[in-house]
Subunit: 201 residues, 2 copies
């Protein structure tokens, strides 16, 4: 059997998604990767949360900002707690969608995550996103303008609806067909599954 | 610097704690291990939950019962969703305390976890716990009787209070001094930390 495609579901506001975005290319090498931006907000709202669980549960939040930099250091990231968390990521996710359609999405996603979590950039700002895209060698103004058109808005909403329908409850999530893997720490499990490996028991 | 002691905080109702109990001996070989039973109930209550988050958030629960058997298979466990989850674990945690004081606690904890998650045993039952201890070659009736005395009740309460005070919000948790590591998937990080390894960034 050929390996199955691996879907990578992420929100640009999610620190753990940043960890996966940076390392998925090497961990999942040889697999067909499908990058799927979506919004956690509506998913959390359906679970009764109006904020990130890392803010709602302060002990968990304190731990997370120790854990994330520690894990990021393995990929050469210097992550730190941004001045605002979570950032509003609607614009950044839409920009990512445009970039993915044009074939430079992976670079765009990684650059956005690094700007946010290493350099405290406000990724909700059109100016910040315009500059970020420009620095990647693309047309910043045109990309941000296109990100705010109805077809792109609809596409992000469709991914978010699909995430909810398929049982996604957090980010990052990896899907191999209907098999769900939640969390950056399950990336290796998802890759093994996509390659056809199955646990013995 | 000599390696630091590694504290293993677990609740016998916690499926992810079962995963750690079975493998911590080999992963943390050479380290001084301190086994710390505590009750998640009061910790969850303080976060506003009156049940396991895996029951409160059904999508997360569905995933967990896929994830746990998959992870357990690596340690040779055949875990499955018990008919009741979470089990009331007060008695089992008290029995574990008695056994830890007498030097056979690690065997007792592992046997209790396996009875619960492989064979659906009701670990809240004094009869079940008496039989389990007897099968380990110890005095089942005397152990269960001692588990229900005030000093043991107080000791379990003291550990639960300590867990809360030190910022523990879930199980399993590993502590190296004040450094906290949450989740079976952070056992390796905790062991590295106890051995003095520090991330580069």
């Amino acid at each position: 059997m050929p390996p199955a495609p691996l879907e990578f579901w992420f929100d640009l506001a999610s620190a753990y998604s940043c960890l996966s975005a940076v390392r998925i290319g090497s961990v999942a090498s040889g697999l067909e990767l499908r990058w799927r931006p979506f919004l956690l907000g509506p998913i959390f709202k359906a679970q009764g949360w109006d904020d990130s669980p890392f803010n709602l549960y302060p002990a968990k939040g304190r731990w997370m900002w120790r854990d994330v930099p520690r894990r990021g250091a393995r990929s050469g990231l210097k992550m730190r707690q941004p001045s605002v968390f979570p950032r509003h990521s609607v614009l950044a996710c839409r920009v990512a969608l445009v970039a993915l359609m044009q074939g430079w999405g992976e670079d765009c996603v990684r650059a956005t995550f690094r700007a946010e979590f290493e350099h405290d950039a406000d990724i909700s700002s059109p100016e910040v996103m315009t500059r970020l895209v420009t620095e990647l060698g693309h047309d910043g103004a045109a990309t941000v303008a296109r990100a705010q058109t109805q077809p792109i808005k609809d596409a992000l909403r469709a991914y978010t609806d699909e995430a909810s329908r398929r049982g996604i409850f957090g980010a990052p999530t990896f899907m191999v067909g209907d098999e769900l893997f939640w969390g950056d720490d399950r990336l290796e499990d998802a890759v093994a599954w996509a390659r056809g490996e199955r646990p013995a028991a």
